[in-house]
């Protein structure tokens, strides 16, 4: 195999693969990038067997061929080289990279040892990348990072009537957003948040408008195509928690208030909540809300926030302040609507004046 390629292009392509290269590979081949030079294009691919990414590198092909090149060294070499033309020449088990700066020789493996990629289905559905961008911003923060419950490390995409409903939850809080577009897949999809972030990142780099999707239930594989980049994602299986059942439907207290001021109070309160599981307590009455946190060792904080009272009695509730900050940081709302019933039942946040978004948080048990 012999190809000419621009350093800029190869570097960009290798970076796109980075999330699919495992740091502790089970097989030497899994630490490699597979080059495939055919008559009309060169693709590079990497996989850790659970996520696979394959993309096209614009290049001039002298001779066709395939080879697996150790990824880590290759990436280090390529990123250290100056922009401009590189020549990759693979002969047997040696890869020779020639640039203006100098020559590099890397040992490489036969492409046979590299895992075979599943075949991309022919029928692909289309989804706006803007929607993936938005849901990544407004829903995925609520998903879990705990790998022991894989279902919760993904976001759920499903049809709700004519709309697309997206849900993320870690079992303690839940974000839900509804988009007025049809969901193109036949069944609902659990999209791993890490893959989603990678798709969104690469989509932004490639300034793509849409992504193409396909699911193979037989292969347990999700296929996502962004321009020339193909993602092969192991489907997450399992039952998503019955999220509809924990969205509160009636409230004994409803208020609206300024979101930035609210966030500022929580940040100050959290200084004193570090030793107490980030508990911040909120007492709401007809004129305002008091945010308090205290630590026996370091001190305490109490702040007052104006609220527009809509209806209901006074109420007290305590949350993990982090859960609220996560949400405020991700959505950057200006004004919030808040509804609760009892201090031990889930409470609901909405963005005042914005339809289709809900954030449900489970409160703490507060000892009076």
């Amino acid at each position: 195999m012999k190809i000419d390629v621009l350093q800029e292009n190869l570097h960009a392509a290798l970076q796109q693969l980075s999330k699919a290269i495992s740091s502790k590979p089970q097989l030497p081949a899994l630490a490699c990038v597979l080059f495939q030079a055919s008559k009309d294009s060169v693709t590079v691919a990497a996989t850790d067997l659970y996520l696979g990414i394959k993309t096209v590198v614009p290049s001039t092909i002298h001779t066709e061929g395939q080879s697996a090149v150790p990824a880590k060294t290759l990436l280090e070499v390529v990123s250290s080289l100056p922009p401009g033309q590189l020549t990759l020449d693979v002969d047997g088990t040696t890869c020779l990279i020639t640039s203006q700066a100098g020559k590099t020789k890397l040992p490489c493996l036969s492409s046979d040892e590299f895992p075979a990629f599943p075949e991309l289905p022919t029928e692909l559905a289309t989804l706006d990348l803007a929607i993936l961008n938005d849901l990544n911003k407004s829903v995925s923060f609520a998903s879990s990072v705990d790998q022991s419950r894989p279902v919760l490390t993904s976001v759920l995409l499903r049809s709700e009537g004519d709309a697309l409903q997206v849900v993320g939850t870690d079992g303690f809080r839940l974000a839900l957003k509804t988009y007025p577009v049809a969901f193109p897949l036949a069944q609902s999809l659990l999209l791993p948040v890490k893959a989603l972030q990678e798709i969104v990142r690469i989509g932004a780099q490639q300034t793509a408008d849409t992504v193409k999707l396909a699911v193979s239930t037989e292969l347990k594989q999700l296929f996502v195509v962004v321009n020339d980049t193909h993602f092969f994602i192991r489907l997450i299986e399992g039952e998503y928690p019955p999220f509809e059942k924990i969205i509160p439907s009636n409230f004994t207290l409803e208020v609206t208030f300024d979101a930035e001021e609210f966030a500022a109070h929580i940040k100050r309160a959290l200084i004193f909540a570090r030793d107490s599981s980030n508990i911040v307590k909120f007492s709401i009455d007809e004129t305002g809300m008091t945010c308090t946190a205290s630590a026996s060792a370091s001190g305490e904080y109490s702040g007052r926030l104006d609220v527009t009272h809509i209806q209901g009695d006074a109420g007290t509730i305590a949350f993990n302040g982090r859960y609220l900050l996560d949400f405020l940081a991700a959505l950057k709302p200006t004004k919030l609507w808040f509804g609760m019933t009892e201090s031990l039942k889930p409470a609901l946040f909405r963005l005042d004046g914005v339809e289709g978004f809900m954030y449900v948080v489970m409160p703490f048990r507060v000892n009076e």
């Binding site: 999330k19 502790k24 590979p25 089970q26 097989l27 030497p28 899994l30 850790d48 067997l49 659970y50 696979g52 046979d112 040892e113 895992p115 075979a116 990629f117 599943p118 879990s144 705990d146 790998q147 022991s148 419950r149 894989p150 279902v151 079992g171 303690f172 809080r173 839940l174 791993p192 890490k194 893959a195 193979s216 037989e218 292969l219 347990k220 594989q221 092969f232 192991r234 489907l235 299986e237 399992g238 039952e239 928690p241 019955p242 509809e244 059942k245 924990i246 509160p248 439907s249 009636n250 599981s277 980030n278 508990i279 993990n320 039942k345 889930p346 489970m362 409160p363 703490f364 048990r365």
Partner: protein, 547 residues
Amino acid sequence: MSERATSYSTLDVQHIWQQACTNLQQQVSPAVFNTWILSNPLTALEPLGEGKIKATISSPTAFHATTIKKNVSEYILHTLTALLEHEVELDFVIKDPGQTVARPASPPPTTPSVSPVTATPPLTTTPSVASTPGNTPIPGLTANPTLSPLNASQTKATVELVNTSLTALTRQSSYSPQSPRVEQLFSDTTIQSLSYDRAIVMARQIGLRPDYTFETFAVSGTNEMAHAAATAVSNKPGTAYNPLFLYGGVGVGKTHLMHAIGNNILKNNPDTKIFYCTGEEFTNDIVRAIQDKKALKFKEKYRSVQVLLIDDVQFIAGKNAVQEEFFHTFNALLKNAYQIVLTSDRPPHEINLLEDRLRSRFEAGLMIDIQQPTFELRTAILLIKASAHNIIIPMDIAQLIASKVDSARKIEGIVTSLKSEVELKNREINVDLVEEILKSETSLRKKTLKVHPNDVLRAVANHYHIKQSAIKGQRRTQELVLARHVAMFLLKEELQMSFVEIGRWFSNRDHTSAMHAFRKIEQGLVENETLQRDISALRMSLTAISR
């Protein structure tokens, strides 16, 4: 082992795979063995006939399956063929390795679990494969969830099955968040308490009265059938009795039972789509839909419900377009086994101008007659209502009221009056107070119907299936006399006509005959239940015309 080529138990399969692993380990490199063989176990053996056996390999991902097919399947095929002494065909399925067979010699994972924070897990669906540093010579796979049937103690804690149901998930709270005392969002208690809240909200939206439940319904001989049927329907909507047709006079508890059915269905499943309306609202809705040319929307609205409750369905009789639409709605719902509950003041065959096809459909379900409450039941109702209003009525007073009041609805009014007298005027509940209230109740209720005497005659004639002229005429058969007396009674009672005037309507009879008729019916009403029902049905039809 060849003699058992017919079928293989799970244990056989595990045993064969262990042997195969031992053999394969000598043929390939450790890395290949760990990646492509150990994590892709044999999970089923199935004879295909002609001495062939299908061997199913379960791979965690499609990458594994495609690569094994390409690179390693030869070794596996060869080994299995040798072991089974039969021709083997390989089949691949992608499955989460929840329970797989491990090589017996597999070194035990020294740490039971890997911290999700320090590990840098790839996008896996299996638990993290990152191994704890310096623990094992074999890279990667040792922390994988491999369950050894021979050495179950090795298997602890690393595996949390993906396919666990929610309840299992919430109970296995192996997750230790920063917040130790925060309840799980999806715990049974949270779900239950929210579903209870939602049932109340839904009931309010649907228009069901929250106090009309089975718990507040007093049961005795006159309504126990209806109560039993309603309970059955609400516990198994669509399957128990469909449609359920409840009929009976004013204030016998039809509406209460209907609301109770709705409330109970919501309590069992707050997401059930229930629609509740009266026959009159249904009629108005159709008329409006036709006027606004939104008939299609109307159809969608009524045919998408899972439980349809229509109160006083007799109102749709005689309205052709309405009956037509109702007929189709009825069929559509019944076809999907969705529950229909109807109430009426009289049985289907007595609803005049009701289309035959509707009548036969109503009669195809379960029809239950609710009788006027007996004296004992009225006393019970009174006591229930009183306790709902937090007032205590002594038994003798309760019996006094029950003996003077005939319908449950009036009892409600009297309880309300009693409550206001007690609370606002600080009066004591005694015989005098009750007498006073009963008197004012009866005088208050005297509201003249705005109908023509002809309407009364027509209604009575229709009700008894007699010609109007016969009622007015001179013949004195038993049937005719009853109808005539009822008509006279209604003219006096509801239209406040003088006896002289009433006499004139009936072939110029004397005012004494009218007086006699009035007293006769008045007395009859105290104990004759058929008469009570006739009068209340007639009153209702007249009220309908009056408006």
